[in-house]
C-alpha cells in the first residue's frame, strides 16, 4: 500500500478506491442503470409480463413520446407546475429572506424561532395534508373565516393554489435556514457604514442583504423547481387524484397513472424524460432572467455610484455584494 507522504490529501492512494467503492456501486445500481433503462424503455413497446414469461418488446422509436405529448393532461400538468412556481417562488424568496434577515438580528429566543420555522419541514407530507384537508374542507375553519365558500379543494381554479400554499408553508423553514446561513456571512461593518450614510432599514435590506445572498436565491429557486416538479402526494390526496379535470394534476402523478396504473411504462418513462427536459428548460430560463436582472441592477448601481461620485459622496449601492 502506498505510504502517504507529508500531507494525506496530496498523495494518491488505492485505499480511497476501497472506501468509495460501495458508494460508487450504489450510484451505479440505483441511479445509472435506471436512467439508461428509462431511456431504453421509453423507446420500446414495453409490456408488463408475468415473472418468467418472455414477451416481445419491439423498438418503436419515438411513438411513446408522440403519445405522451398528445396527452392533454401532460400539458395541463406542465402548466400546473408553472402555476405552482408562480406562487411558490416569489412567496418563498420574499418570506424566506425577510425572516432570515430578521432572525439574524435577534438576540433572544433564537433557537425557539429557528425550531418553530423548521418543524413543518420535518413533518411528514401525509400528516400535513391531514390538517390542510381538515382546514380547507367544506365545513372547515378556513370557510368560517372566508366567505363565500369557494369549495377550495374541488375548485378547478383553486386546487393548485391551495397545493402551492401548502408546499410553500411546509418548505419555508428549510429555505429560511439556507438564507440565514447566507445572511450571517454578511459583515456587520457594511450595515454600520450604510447607517452612517443615513440608509434606513429597508434601504439597507435592498442594497446590502438582497444582493449579498443572490447565490442563495439561485439555489432556492432551483430547489423550488425540483420540489414543484416532484409534487405527488398533495394532488393525489389533498385534491383527490389531481383535482377536477386534472386541475392539480402533477407530472409525477401522471407518470404513476400512465406507467403503473394503466400499464404503459413506455409512455410513463417517456413522460419522465420529457419532464426532466422541461425542468432543465425552466431552470435555464430562470437563470437567464436572473442574469438579466443582475446585469440591469449592476448597471443601475454603477449609474447611482457615478451620480453620487459627482456629488462627492458615497452611496451604499457601491458596496460590493
Amino acid at each position: 500500500m502506498a505510504r502517504t507522504k507529508r500531507r494525506g490529501r496530496r498523495s494518491t492512494t488505492i485505499v480511497g478506491l476501497y472506501l468509495v467503492a460501495p458508494y460508487a456501486v450504489y450510484l451505479a445500481i440505483v441511479y445509472a442503470v435506471p436512467i439508461i433503462q428509462g431511456v431504453r424503455i421509453s423507446l420500446l413497446d414495453y409490456v408488463y409480463a408475468a415473472p418468467g414469461a418472455s414477451v416481445s418488446q419491439p423498438f418503436i422509436g419515438l411513438k411513446n413520446y408522440r403519445e405522451a405529448l398528445s396527452d392533454p393532461l401532460l400539458r395541463r400538468s406542465f402548466l400546473n407546475i408553472l402555476e405552482f412556481l408562480a406562487i411558490n417562488v416569489p412567496l418563498t424568496v420574499a418570506l424566506g429572506l425577510t425572516l432570515a434577515a430578521v432572525l439574524a438580528r435577534l438576540t433572544r429566543m433564537k433557537t425557539f424561532f429557528r425550531s418553530a420555522f423548521f418543524v413543518p419541514y420535518v413533518t411528514a407530507s401525509i400528516a400535513v395534508i391531514g390538517v390542510w384537508y381538515f382546514l380547507f374542507s367544506q365545513s372547515g375553519l378556513i370557510n368560517h373565516i372566508w366567505t363565500p365558500n369557494p369549495s377550495w379543494l374541488v375548485n378547478s381554479k383553486l386546487a393548485m393554489v391551495v397545493i402551492a400554499l401548502e408546499v410553500t408553508w411546509k418548505q419555508l423553514g428549510f429555505y429560511v435556514l439556507l438564507y440565514l446561513a447566507g445572511v450571517l456571512l454578511i459583515p456587520d461593518s457594511l450595515y454600520e457604514a450604510a447607517s452612517i450614510d443615513g440608509a434606513g432599514v429597508v434601504r439597507q435590506f435592498r442594497a446590502i442583504t438582497v444582493p449579498a445572498v443572490r447565490n442563495v436565491t439561485v439555489l432556492v429557486t432551483t430547489l423550488a423547481l425540483i420540489v414543484g416538479a416532484n409534487v405527488f402526494t398533495e394532488p393525489l390526496l389533498l385534491t383527490n387524484g389531481g383535482g377536477p379535470n386534472g386541475a392539480s394534476m402533477s407530472p409525477a402523478l401522471l407518470i404513476y397513472q400512465k406507467g403503473v396504473e394503466q400499464g404503459q411504462p413506455g409512455v410513463g418513462a417517456a413522460m419522465g424524460i420529457l419532464l426532466t427536459l422541461f425542468v432543465l428548460l425552466v431552470a435555464g430560463a430562470g437563470r437567464a432572467v436572473q442574469w438579466a436582472v443582475q446585469r440591469s441592477e449592476d448597471r443601475a448601481g454603477e449609474r447611482a455610484g457615478e451620480r453620487a461620485a459627482e456629488r462627492g459622496g458615497g452611496t451604499v449601492e457601491e458596496v460590493p455584494a
Binding site: R3, T4, R7, G8, R9, T12, I14, V15, G16, L17, L19, V20, P22, A24, Y26, L27, V30, Y31, P34, I35, Q37, G38, L95, T98, V102, R105, L106, V119, P120, V122, T123, A124, S125, I126, I129, G130, V131, W132, Y133, F134, S139, L141, H144, N230, F232, T233, L236, L237, A252, I255, Y256, P265, G268, A269, M271, G272, I273, L275, T276, V279
Partner: protein, 278 residues
C-alpha cells in the same frame, strides 16, 4: 423610544411567522383528541367535555399502528445504518484522499442531489419490482434511499473542515489511511453523524411515493403509506373522519418532531478543531 419600537416590530414580525408556522400542527393535535369534530372557532381551544382517545382507537383499528410503525422503523433505520456504513467512508475518501475515479463519484453525488425522481420512477419500479423481485420487501423499500446523498455531502464537508495537522500527526506516527480514518477521524465525527442521521431519518420516515409504489400487502406498509391509503379510500366511512386522520397524522409526525427537537442542539456544535492545540 424608536429603538424599543424597532425591537417590538422585529419580534412581532417573527412571532407572527412562528405562529403561522406552528398553528396547523397545534390544530392537528387538538383535532386528534376531539370526540366530535369542531371545525368552528370554538374548536381552536380544547374543551374538556369533547376530548378523548376515541380517534386513536379508531385509527388503530383501521391501521394496526404497531405493525405500521415497526415497518416505518425498519425502513428508516435500515436507511440510516446504510448511509453511515457506506456514506461515511465515501465522504472521507472524497474529502481527504486522491484516487482514480474521484471526479466521477463527486459529479455523481451532485447530480443525484438535483435529479428529479420522476425520471427514475418507472425504470426503478420495473427494476426493483420486476427484475429483482423485491416488491413488498424492506430491501426494496430501502434500496433507492439506502445512501442519502445529502448525508454523504455532510460527511465530506466535515472531513474537509478538519485541520490538516490532525492527519499529518497521524501520518508522521506511521498510521495508514485506514487506521487514520478509524482512530483519528471517526471519533471526531459524532456531530456529523448526528446531523446526517437526523437528515437521513426524515426522508424515509415521511416518504409516501416509493413505498406506496412497491407495497401492496397492507402488513408491509410503513405508516405514511397506510395512512395515505386510509385517507384516499376509507376515511369517508368513519364516524369522525377528520379526527381519525388527524390522530394518525399525530402518530406519524410526533416521532420525527421529537427527534428533531432533541438532536437540534447538537447541530450547532458541529465545529471540529478540538483535537488540535493552537
Amino acid at each position: 423610544m424608536s429603538r424599543i419600537l424597532k425591537r417590538l416590530t422585529t419580534y412581532g414580525f417573527v412571532m407572527l411567522g412562528a405562529l403561522a408556522s406552528i398553528f396547523p400542527l397545534y390544530y392537528m393535535v387538538v383535532g386528534s383528541f376531539q370526540l366530535r369534530t369542531d371545525s368552528a372557532f370554538s374548536g381552536l381551544i380544547p374543551h374538556p367535555g369533547n376530548l378523548g382517545l376515541a380517534n386513536y382507537r379508531d385509527i388503530n383499528k383501521a391501521i394496526p399502528l404497531l405493525r405500521a410503525l415497526s415497518n416505518s422503523a425498519v425502513f428508516t433505520l435500515g436507511t440510516v445504518v446504510l448511509t453511515i456504513v457506506i456514506g461515511l467512508p465515501a465522504g472521507y475518501a472524497l474529502a481527504r484522499l486522491r484516487f482514480p475515479g474521484k471526479a466521477t463519484v463527486s459529479a455523481g453525488l451532485i447530480l443525484v442531489l438535483v435529479l428529479p425522481f420522476q425520471v427514475m420512477m418507472i425504470p426503478l419500479y420495473i427494476l426493483v419490482v420486476r427484475d429483482y423481485g423485491l416488491a413488498d420487501s424492506y430491501l426494496g423499500m430501502i434500496l433507492p434511499f439506502a445512501v442519502n446523498a445529502t448525508a454523504v455531502l455532510i460527511f465530506r464537508q466535515f472531513f474537509v473542515s478538519l485541520p490538516d495537522e490532525l492527519f499529518d500527526a497521524a501520518h508522521i506516527d506511521g498510521a495508514s489511511e485506514l487506521r487514520t480514518l478509524i482512530l483519528v477521524a471517526a471519533p471526531l465525527t459524532k456531530p456529523a453523524i448526528i446531523t446526517a442521521s437526523v437528515i437521513t431519518f426524515i426522508g424515509p420516515w415521511n416518504e409516501f411515493l416509493w413505498p406506496f409504489l412497491i407495497t401492496k400487502k397492507h402488513d408491509m406498509q410503513p405508516l405514511a403509506v397506510a395512512l395515505g391509503e386510509y385517507v384516499s379510500n376509507n376515511a369517508a366511512k368513519a364516524a369522525n373522519p377528520y379526527g381519525v386522520i388527524l390522530a394518525g397524522s399525530c402518530v406519524l409526525a410526533v416521532p420525527v418532531i421529537a427527534l428533531f427537537l432533541i438532536a437540534q442542539r447538537h447541530f450547532t456544535s458541529a465545529a471540529p478543531g478540538s483535537g488540535v492545540k493552537e
